[in-house]
């Protein structure tokens, strides 16, 4: 009995020596912190404190949460906000398939794993090669980000509601910057940049003719059609907002390749997509 605390102590030390746990913890802090900007922008775009918290606790997917408040801030309807958030959440289904094949969670763990299946937890896990490390990376990043993201959303929401006129503080500019920062890591190469430009153009052309929020859905349809009819990389656009193996890890390129391989399972078959 007297030995137990030391045993758990050594276990904790061993856990901290795991590269996946370390990467998971640093990605948790980096991602969790920007929950502040979500919280502040959410309350200034017209949602109340509990609506903001519901998005972080229940929806829990950065891009979709920003999409929801972005549509509301632009005067769009609730249904348009819901549609944009839902379409943006499709990639989490793809991540779920990949993680299920990697980690094989069973029983109740499957339902918990699903909730913390996001860009960053998937990237942390699939950047590792050892199955145990993949599992540790996924859970550390998933649960770590969940806790910190919600904590910092609350901080941002409380700070944001005391700000007065949001335009005076340039918070509409902050929203623009946040969306560009979410888009940026996905623009690797000429093709994704072209998709972004085409969809931005479609949006601008649609704005004067349809109700607020709808131009975003039109852009989504355009993007889906491009995806359906063209044969590019099958993992395009499926990069995390904050790359866990970018600045925190020396072996970036090696890890990056592993990450690519896992994401692009269908790579070799891309050309046969139509058959």
């Amino acid at each position: 009995m007297g030995l137990e605390p030391t045993e758990t102590g050594t276990k904790a030390v061993k856990l901290l020596q795991s590269p996946a746990v370390r990467v998971g913890l640093s990605i948790s802090i980096a991602t969790g912190l920007y929950g502040v900007s979500f919280g502040a922008l959410s309350v200034t775009s017209g949602l109340d404190f509990w609506q903001t918290m519901a998005l972080s606790l229940l929806l829990f997917s950065g891009g979709s949460q920003f999409a929801f408040i972005g549509v509301v801030a632009g005067g769009g309807s609730g249904i348009a906000a819901m549609s944009a958030a839902t379409l943006l959440g499709m990639r989490n289904g793809i991540y779920g398939m990949q993680l299920n094949a990697l980690l094989h969670p069973t029983g109740w763990r499957r339902y918990v794993a699903a909730q913390v299946t996001i860009d960053e937890s998937t990237a942390t896990s699939s950047g590792q090669t050892d199955p145990d490390e993949q599992r540790r990376g996924f859970w550390t990043a998933g649960i770590g980000i969940y806790i910190l993201w919600n904590l910092f959303t609350a901080v941002g929401a409380l700070a944001g509601s005391g700000l007065g006129d949001p335009k005076q503080w340039g918070l509409d500019g902050a929203a623009v910057a946040a969306f560009l920062a979410l888009l940026w890591p996905r623009l690797k190469g000429r093709e994704p940049a072209a998709i972004a430009v085409v969809c931005a153009l479609a949006t601008v052309l649609a704005v004067p003719f349809v109700p607020a929020g709808v131009p975003i859905l039109i852009a989504a349809v355009v993007a889906a059609l491009i995806g359906w009819f063209s044969h590019g990389r099958s993992d395009e656009g499926l990069e995390p907002d904050v790359d866990p193996y970018d600045t925190h890890h020396g072996g970036r390129d090696k890890n990056r390749d592993t990450h690519r391989d896992l994401h692009g399972e269908g790579h070799g078959q891309a050309g046969k997509a139509g058959t």
Partner: protein
């Protein structure tokens, strides 16, 4: 109250996407088309959200301080600034431009 309904529905659907991934047969993963659409749609939606928040004012297009925020954010991203810094730079640019009279 109305917004609550759509918000909670969005939460349910988001969880449904995530869960579906764990229950569909692994063979579906071999079809690259679904994954490709999920990816192109992510790019398209984020590009659209960026531009809408920059130039749309309800049903009209406007060139205001938000364009400056877009430019400043792009510069910050080229300099590999972390997410939170990019957001603060965007806010600062818009606030500063308003202060000197460009709405």
């Amino acid at each position: 109250m109305n917004l609550w309904i759509w918000l909670l529905l969005a939460c349910v659907l988001a969880y449904a996407w995530k869960l579906v991934g764990y229950f569909v047969p692994a063979t579906l993963l071999k079809d690259p088309r679904m994954s490709r659409i999920a990816g192109t749609m992510t790019i398209g939606l984020l590009a659209s959200l960026t531009i809408v928040n920059t130039v749309a004012s309800g049903p009209t297009l406007a060139a205001d301080a938000r364009l400056g925020a877009l430019g400043a954010a792009a510069v910050a991203l080229v300099c590999r600034a972390p997410f939170l810094v990019v957001v603060v730079v965007g806010a600062g640019a818009a606030a500063l431009l308003r202060l000197i009279g460009w709405n």
